[in-house]
């Protein structure tokens, strides 16, 4: 246990400063806090509202409160005005005793303030500075302004979401739902900070670590990249990075298929999985046609197979298909809404989703809990965020920095 923070966990005693302007840095800080690190926010009034604004929607105040609780729970807060000398002194005092700095500030802004990752890395040689940005620290993209949407665009994932569309002009490339780029960058940054601790243990020195949202997503399209550099035909690429497809539909290998109460997803990459799927469907006569025996032939004859296949599915619920196919060891899953996911027996048994209290505990909403289960160093949850600047005076005194 860390005597100062009272926290246990794998990172108990590790000190993290988070200078975040958005979700990526906030999530990285949350992950490190979940491992038991003491995380201190450098923030100014209004930062949270700008970063986590749900928009003019129903329950906007409650949604904003929940987002702040989810991302900033258990952290400490110091009010930070980079233009104020005393405020910078306090920030530098914190950094002089910190192990890790996570920052996702727009780099042009940080540069102009003299607080670039490189500058801070030079000033604090033992510090692990983890920078998160859209295009990284290089000169070409340094000024790029980050957003979740644009990360999908420049990183290559938008182009294959959706895949296989019938008319490329009427189906724009898509970002994935929610804020996946922001969270993926946060996860990368937290992991990179842990790598930095390993490196520092070996060298005794800090490091400036550059997490680029573009590179994060480019690393996710590695299969599509390999299709290009290996010269294989794209027709077999289940990602379908070429977008265009004459019929824009699923294949015999994988897909999202309509059924009586929604959709289910399946993947039958292996022959035994297709055979299992057919057994789950009651071994229909049409499936015994020798023309459909080979996976590649099934692709060719899909026009004939599809009416049989979908016709059966439309007569069954996603739950029926889910359990019947899994009994045959075929990867089939229902397509759930978030409401259905919360009701799923497996999720209830795992208790992955936990209650986040709102409005003084009068309302509870389910949110994701422990990211990983660590047998000996359990996750350190908290949904109690500090008020902005709550710990400014305390830390000034502790560090001996004047106001």
């Amino acid at each position: 246990m860390d005597n100062r923070t009272g926290l246990e966990g794998a990172l108990a005693g590790t000190r993290v400063v988070e200078w975040s302007a958005g979700r990526p840095g906030a999530y990285a800080g949350k992950l490190l806090r979940g491992l038991g690190a003491g995380v201190t926010l450098l923030e100014s009034p209004g930062t949270r509202e700008r970063a986590f604004n749900p928009g003019p929607v129903a329950g906007a105040d409650e949604q904003l409160e929940a987002r702040i609780r989810f991302l900033h729970g258990g952290k400490r807060s110091v009010e930070f005005d980079p233009a104020d000398a005393a405020s910078r002194d306090l920030a530098f005092g914190l950094l002089s005793t910190a192990d890790i700095l996570v920052m996702d500030q727009h780099l042009s802004t940080a540069d102009a303030l003299g607080l670039s990752p490189e500058t801070l890395g030079e000033r604090f040689p033992g510090l692990l500075v983890v920078s998160i940005s859209l295009g990284g620290l290089g000169a070409r993209a340094r000024a790029w302004r980050h957003s979740d949407l644009v990360a999908h665009a420049v990183g290559g994932t938008a182009r294959s979401t959706p895949s296989r569309v019938p008319d490329v002009e009427t189906y724009p490339p898509l970002k994935s739902g929610g804020y996946q780029a922001d969270y993926a960058c946060g996860l990368h940054a937290a992991s990179a900070a842990l790598l930095g601790l390993q490196l520092r243990r070996r060298t005794g020195a800090g490091q400036v670590i550059d997490v680029s949202a573009q590179a994060v997503f480019a690393s996710y399209v590695r299969m599509d990249i390999a299709y290009r550099t290996y010269g294989g035909a794209d027709a077999l690429n289940i990602s379908g990075a070429s977008r265009q497809s004459p019929n824009g539909r699923f294949s015999t290998i994988w897909g999202l298929v309509p059924c009586s109460d929604g959709y289910f997803a399946f993947q039958a990459s292996e022959q035994y999985q297709w055979e299992g799927l057919m057994r789950a469907m009651g071994d229909p006569d049409w499936a015994k046609d020798p023309r459909f025996a080979d996976p590649m032939d099934r692709v060719a004859y899909w026009d004939e197979i599809e009416p049989h296949f979908v016709g059966w599915c439309l007569g069954h619920t996603k739950a029926e298909i889910f359990h019947a196919a899994q009994a045959e060891h075929v990867p089939v899953f229902p397509c759930y809404t978030v409401e259905e996911l919360l009701q799923d027996e497996q999720q209830r048994a795992r208790a992955f989703f936990v209650d986040l209290p709102l409005q003084g505990g009068h309302q509870l909403v389910k949110v994701p809990g422990a990211v990983v289960h660590l047998e000996k160093t359990p996750w350190q949850p908290s949904f109690e965020p500090p008020s902005v600047g709550e710990h400014t005076a305390e830390l000034r005194q502790a560090l001996g920095v004047g106001s």
């Binding site: 420049v154 930095g196 990249i225 290009r228 229902p334």
Partner: protein, 404 residues
């Protein structure tokens, strides 16, 4: 140059994508990763396309190569007790063991955590499966893509007001799971280094995906309304979308994230026209007339190549970017400057470029890249030179299909 994980040894029982991507990251960061595989039941990805030059083969898959750089490969038929004993010998000399079989498979080989920590008490053991080690569906099997449907991600991905999207780009589930393994493993390693205590790290792929959906869960929890697909729109920003640019199937993404961005956009477009209306200066006003604004923005973006639109907007301080193709990505100067791409020189397929990692640091300059191992390429090195097996015994075990 010292790499972060030099001196760390990993027994890698993982396969397909999620586990191997995690262990490739370990290998690239300096760990010695020993992949324990078998010609009896090879990793499916060794057989999957893309095969180099369109030819499939055990040593030709670009997907497999792109997940297994810098590793060593030994072959063991883990159904045989002698092979299981050898696997335990390897683990006894490793810091980490990692697996992502369906639940219970490794236990069937007598290589579960309880067995492995007997031979290596301070072992960091990382295990994941589709739905986790507990719960009524723990035995259910999966690949990554169907889990985007199960976790609700597909239900909020798609055209605005449309149906769930069947594919989320970038083999999403597998990569998310890989990074979750990596994160948990490094946390446990940190604890071991501080205390000498090993431990098991466990999660499910489903949790790795659903863990990144807090806003959808909060929206449902607060309002009772089940969120669906919103396309590229955002309830707090406008305009926020992917717009057609000049040329066929070319697009540019633009995110006007606040009212200041709106002023910047107007200046770049240079044609206030309908945008001169002061009621549009707040996000509430813009959201109320979103279709009209989007149409006007697209009538402007269609005149220019996507790169030009993105460049002009980024110079003005608005988040924007061309929607790149994979070909664009491979040639992208920003990624090339940071050394993102890795080139292996493989004995069967020659020099091939593959994707790298999402982070970079000075310690990674001149990062050594060794080709993805041939099946069993390092069996002699590991069993004879490292474990000290008698060469004659090695031959016997090969002949008896233990090392195979």
């Amino acid at each position: 140059m010292t790499l972060p994980l030099e001196g760390i040894r990993v027994a890698d029982f993982s396969w397909v994508i999620a586990g191997p991507f995690a262990t490739q990251a370990l290998a690239l960061m300096g760990a010695e990763v020993i992949k324990i595989e078998s010609s009896v039941h090879t990793d499916i990805n060794r057989r999957l396309p893309p095969g180099a030059d369109g030819v499939l083969g055990t040593e030709r898959s670009g997907l497999w190569h792109g997940l297994n750089l810098n590793k060593k490969s030994v072959t063991l038929n883990l159904r045989k007790p002698e092979a299981q004993a050898l696997a335990r010998e390897i683990v006894a000399r490793c810091d980490v063991a990692i697996e992502n079989f369906s639940y219970g498979q490794l236990e069937k080989f007598n290589l579960g955590y309880d067995e492995l920590k007997k031979v290596k008490p301070d072992l960091v053991f990382v295990t994941s499966s589709g739905l986790g080690r507990t719960g009524p569906y723990r035995g259910y099997v999966t690949f990554g893509p169907p889990l985007t449907a199960y976790t609700g991600l597909a239900s909020i991905t798609g055209q605005d007001g449309g149906t769930p999207e069947r594919w989320v780009g970038g083999l999403w589930s597998d990569h998310q799971a890989a990074l979750t393994s990596f994160f948990g493993l490094l946390a446990a390693l940190e604890h071991r280094d501080r205390t000498g205590e090993g431990q098991m790290v466990e999660y499910s792929m489903a949790e790795a995906i659903a863990g990144q959906l807090p806003e959808a869960l909060i929206e449902y929890g607060v309002t009772g309304t089940v969120p669906g697909p919103r396309g590229n729109r955002d309830p707090a920003m406008c305009p926020h979308g992917v717009f057609r640019a000049a040329g066929g199937d070319t697009w540019v993404a633009i995110a006007v994230q606040n009212d200041e961005d709106w002023e910047r956009l107007k200046r770049v477009m240079g044609e206030p026209g309908p945008f001169a209306d002061a009621s549009l200066d707040t996000v509430e006003g813009r959201l109320a007339r979103r279709p009209e604004i989007e149409a006007a923005v697209e009538s402007w973006t269609r005149r220019y190549p996507p790169e030009e639109v993105a460049s002009r907007l980024q110079e003005a301080g608005v988040s924007a970017g061309a929607v790149v193709t994979i070909e664009d990505l491979i040639e992208d100067p920003v990624l090339r400057d940071r050394g993102f791409f890795l080139t292996q020189d493989h004995p069967e397929v020659g020099q091939r470029t593959l994707a790298g990692l999402g982070w970079d640091m000075p310690a990674m300059r001149g990062l050594p890249v060794r080709h993805a191992p041939l099946l069993g390429e390092h069996s002699w090195e590991i069993f004879v030179e490292w474990l000290g097996m008698d060469p004659e015994r090695f031959g016997e075990l090969v002949a008896s299909d233990v090392i195979v």
